[in-house]
Amino acid sequence: MSAVIAPVIALAQGGGQAAAEAAHFEPFLPGLVVLLPLLGFVLNGILALRHGRDSAAAVRRGEELDLGDRASRPATHTLPTWIGPGVLGAAFVITLVNFARMFGADLEAPVIVHYWTWIATGTFTVEAALQLDQLSMIMMMVVTGVGFLIHVFSVGYMRDDAGYPRYFAYLNLFVFFMLVLVMGSSYALMFVGWEGVGLCSYLLIGYWFSDREKSDAGKKAFIVNRIGDVGFLIAMFLLFRAFGTVDFVPVFAEAETLVYAGGLVTAITLFFFLGAVGKSAQIPLHIWLPDAMAGPTPVSALIHAATMVTAGVYLVARSSVLFALAPLSSAVVAGIGVLTALFAATIALKQNDIKKVLAYSTVSQLGYMFVGVGVGAYAAGVFHLMTHAFFKALLFLGSGAVIHAMHDAYHSTHSHEDAQDMRNMGGLKTYMPITWATMWIATLAISGIWPFAGFFSKDEIIWQTAAFGGAENAPYAALYSVYWIVALAAAMLTAFYMTRMMVMTFHGENRTGAEESKHLHEAPAVMWVPLAVLAVLSVFGGWINVPEAIQTSWVGLFGALPTGEWLHHWLEPLTAQAHHIQEANLGELAHSAPFGGGEVLWATISTAAAAVVVFLSIRFVGGQKTVPVAQDETAPSGFGAVLLNKYYVDEFYDRFVVQPIVRASRFCWKTIDSLVIDGAVNAVGLVAKAFGWGVSMFQTGSVNTYAFILTVGVLVILGVAVL
């Protein structure tokens, strides 16, 4: 890692003066990191709207806009190729410079770069300001770095799509909001990014909006996310009541005035976690993420794997001080995380759509990250977030390359077969060797096989769970032992379903069709180069944080793997406070697992077990006879059917949440509004009318009658007055 960035450090520090000023961190144009994607959005958006006019004219004539061959396309279609990835590349370079400067500096407190006062009511103030610290820096690197690679991949994947400029406009806007999310200096600003990325997710899931199913999936994502957002809002309101501000720095400085394990801090953290559950697709709000696969595959890689869905983990890691003060909330975080990890992994076992497997795998891996931040291992959670961004982005992009090839194959014969169903694949290894090789690297990484990136990050989370549960005064110690066992079990399932996916896709006989298979092809360079880069990161990415306890054993190649616990130390200035709180209240963490055995032993066991599972799965799945979808007549039964149907959670929600609300809405409208309220209003109107009619009876035209009524009236009034 340091070898890669050494030249950049030199560049950023500007030669000779570096040594003297190394201790001081001077941010380098941080606003531009945020602004560049926004600029990309504006430019691509203008192109998209101009392009939209032409395309609309064609549609009105009853045709589709003909893009022609790649050489002769209009500027509205060629410019986004440069603008879209270009702004990301530039933002990544600026981020690297900032990282290099921070790397060389001794940064104890976050640096706040202030721009303007966003909201100021007199009793409540939020600044539009960016916070640069070790955590936001890691997130910026992931967002702009992985984001850049996915933007480049998108050029190959999307350039023949009619909505190409609109696609890049949305994608750039997403990165803008994602950067606001991770760089904002307050919860309020984070929430701007939080809902902003939700908007972009909505727009990109429903990118092919003419398809009702895709459009529905976008809407579902937005609404389910908003359930979580309510939690985020309430948590902010509670923070404001407690501290009079929602800025990170003062809130964390004051946080320890709250009672440890008290009601307030527990409520604040649980409401924040509700927000995280929505955004990071954890039980019970996980239902939107699998549907989100309706979006273009690079979108799934960027938004629904590498960045946006990890925002919940970032939120908990950012609020480490608050969560450390709330052991109950932390137990809930880890509990939901481990439950989701297992639950989603079981569903992934039976899925046939390649993207669905990856979607549930993402949900499951996010669960691991929550286990990490839930057991107070904030650095481990962020570590897995980072390595997951590498290997899961790679897996999604690889599946995109596969789908791209499958789509071309079926397109050649005008077949309507499903290009995403693995039952139609098989044997793709020979057609797309690079994709095959890189995806295997990612598969080994996610399965936790040594020495790939996922091994180090996942193993640390599992180990920390054991260590936390065994702490001197650990709350709910038995519970954490359960978490630890379930986390280990889910890791084995991961190794199985990922291997199953690889075997069904790449190995065995090809099932695409005789004619179609002639058109299968490897992805073009613009797509496979990002795969290769991510593959390198998936191999070596884990080496930046090899735990000291295992660094000297065989797992750390007897000390040869570099940078022991680098990430841990890097994040120390931000996690130190949480660790102090933890230490003061829980005592020392355990040094052995619940059934004995140290870190090295369990690391060895888990990687060996995972390797065995991978090996056996290759044999098992490879031995199974898979038939193409068209010939597949076997209906799944028993528990298999339950898994294939995702435990019927969607059906449950539809029946017990959605339909009742719709029925209640109709009742409110038809019965309360139209019948009761308006009925009463109209009745009053009728009574008034009837009264008018009744009174008009007295209008006889006879003066005598008038005189009589007048007299009676005067007498009545006088009588009332006297009495």
């Binding site: 998209a48 709207l49 939209g52 006019r53 395309s55 609309a56 549609v59 009105r60 009853g62 303007w116 006062t117 966003w118 909201i119 100021a120 009511t121 007199g122 009793t123 409540f124 539009a128 309020a188 929430f191 701007v192 939080w194 809902e195 902003g196 908007l199 909505y202 429903g206 909006f209 003419s210 398809d211 009702r212 459009s215 529905d216 809407k219 937005f222 609404i223 908003r226 359930i227 957002d229 309510v230 809002l233 309430i234 309101f237 509670l238 404001f240 009541r241 609300i661 719709v662 209640a664 809405s665 109709r666 409110c668 409208w669 309360i672 509004d673 309220i677 308006d678 209003v681 109107g685």
Partner: protein, 542 residues
């Protein structure tokens, strides 16, 4: 800019001009040819709008009291005066009125095909009346303007409206007239009380503020005022006139109704209910009632909106939900709540006005408002779809738009004093997505199937000229509301302080003191000082 305005004595005549220029315009519109009426009316309203923009600079943001005041006796025997003034609460209401009027007039160029001169004359009359409502500092004058708005609106709905226009117009008129009659009785009682206690007849707002009222009196008078304003807002369950009025009203009528007329209700809360009856306004029963009704408005109307087959009716119901946030913000009785409420008022005016304009444009093209009739419009009208989506997002309070700032502050302010209520209201965030997104999807996304939908044209130049400033404002206020907030803050603070001071005095009532004294004038506090100035100015008139 300030220097320029000062050199032309802007502060002395601007408010009068804003009321009377539209009236002059009526003559002009009636005088020109039928075909020219719309152009003349539009440019005339643009002059008024331009003039009102000067308030931004002429207004002194450090002052909490009334500014740019002027007064002249009108009916001296009854103490009625023609007095105008402006503070941080009315400032943006005036600007919202002039802006919305211009946009509504520009939006009716195609929609209004018959009796154009009469129509645009009524629009200008409406503008004069609503500006008058917001700048009047004499309660009688306020009442005259308040009732005057009914007349042009009644005709706009009744003459240029849809099929059930007569039913809607009468319902609208009766509902609101019923409420305001009780308010008139309450105003007369206040007048009588003022005359007895102060010794001279007066309707001046500043004088009426000095009238000591017992807690019981306050509750009765509060109820009368509150009923009138609640019908206008409208507060659940007094809202059923609104969907009918909106559906039947022509586009410009809906725009003004949503953007400005509803605001007169919540403006009344801030201007009269809280300052005149501070003890009643913080009575626990009153506060709870209003907050609960506000929450019901937010949740219940969101549900009702979600199942509407008619797009315009859907948006009409969402107005009630949005105004629920204002009710919440006001009766939270916190600085954040009030500021948030004011921003919601502005934001709702812009975004819901824009939604009605867009639905009107859609109606002009397709002659239906039934959501299910549409589908895939984004493919043939991408600019239209873009404008609609931005507006819809502002309406459901996405961060980065004006809607978020208002709702966030209103909820934050409510949470300070009533966390449970605020929690329930926050659920409205979910239901906003539940009513808005399906409509956006069904109209603009999904498959483009019918030939009628395929023929829908994209926005033309005039329509873009309407939508551009509206969308720009939604985003601008979303990212930088501070210039607005800082102009409102002193006035909002003055209201809160008055209520709080009365709360302290109210404790004295409980211990046997019968009347509540008006809060003492603090020479250090510009807000009360300004009130005192007005009072002494009124004295001098006598």
């Amino acid at each position: 800019m300030s220097a320029l305005l000062e050199s032309i004595g802007y502060s002395d005549w601007a408010l009068h001009a804003l009321v009377w220029l539209p009236v002059l315009g009526i003559g002009l519109v009636l005088w020109v040819e039928e075909a020219q009426a719309k152009t003349v009316a539009f440019w005339w309203s643009m002059v008024v709008l331009a003039l009102s923009l000067g308030l931004w600079w002429a207004f002194d943001p450090t002052q909490g009291g009334m500014q740019m005041q002027s007064t002249a006796p009108w009916i001296p025997g009854w103490g009625v005066s023609y007095s105008l003034g402006i503070d941080g609460i009315s400032l943006f209401m005036v600007m919202l009125s002039t802006f919305s009027t211009s946009m509504a007039i520009l939006g009716s160029f195609n929609y209004i095909q018959s009796r154009q001169r009469a129509f645009y004359a009524l629009m200008l009359l409406l503008e004069a009346a609503v500006v008058g409502v917001f700048v009047a500092t004499d309660v009688f004058l306020f009442y005259v303007f308040f009732e005057l708005t009914l007349v042009p609106m009644y005709f706009i709905v009744g003459v240029w409206g849809g099929e059930r226009r007569i039913y809607a117009a009468i319902k609208f008129f009766l509902y609101t007239a019923f409420g305001s009659l009780l308010m008139l009785v309450a105003i007369l009682y206040l007048f009588w009380k003022a005359k007895t206690l102060l010794g001279f007849p007066t309707f001046a707002y500043a004088d009426l503020l000095q009238v000591p009222l017992s807690g019981t009196e306050q509750l009765w008078l509060f109820s009368a005022f509150a009923l009138a304003f609640s019908v206008k807002v409208p507060v659940f369950p007094l809202h059923t006139w609104l969907p009918d009025a909106h559906v039947e009203a022509p586009t410009p009528g809906s725009v003004i109704l949503a953007a400005v007329l509803l605001k007169m209700g919540t403006y009344g809360f801030l201007r009269f209910l809280l300052p005149l009856f501070p003890v009643a306004a913080q009575h626990p029963t009153v506060v709870t009632t209003m907050l609960v009704l506000g929450v019901i408005g937010i949740l219940y109307t969101a549900w009702v909106a979600a199942v509407q087959p008619d797009a315009k009716k859907l948006v009409a119901y969402t107005s009630v939900a949005h105004m629920g946030f204002v009710v919440l913000g006001v009766f939270a009785l916190t600085v954040n709540g009030l500021q948030g409420g004011l921003i919601v008022m502005i934001s709702h005016g812009i975004s819901t006005g824009a939604l009605f304009l867009l639905l009107g444009m859609l109606y002009e093209r397709r002659h239906t408002r039934t959501i299910a009739e549409f589908g895939g419009i984004a493919r043939v009208a991408p600019w239209f779809a873009t404008a609609f989506v931005i507006t819809a997002l502002a309406s459901i309070g996405l961060p980065g738009t004006s809607g978020f700032v208002g709702e966030f502050l209103a909820l934050l302010g409510t949470f300070e004093t009533h966390p449970t209520i605020a929690f329930l209201a926050t659920l409205g965030v979910i239901f906003a997505a539940y009513y808005m997104l399906p409509m956006v999807q069904t109209v603009f996304f999904n498959k483009l199937e019918t030939d009628e939908n395929r023929k829908i044209e994209d926005l033309n130049g005039r329509e873009m000229a309407i939508m551009a400033p509206l969308c720009a404002l939604m985003i601008l206020i979303g990212w930088n509301p501070t210039p607005l907030l800082e102009r409102m803050e002193p006035s909002v603070r003055a209201v809160i302080e008055r209520v709080e001071a009365a709360g302290v005095a109210d404790a004295a009532i409980e211990s046997g003191v019968r009347f509540v004294e008006a809060p003492p004038i603090d020479p250090e506090d510009p807000a009360t000082l300004a009130e005192a100035d007005v009072a002494s100015a009124a004295d001098a008139d006598e």
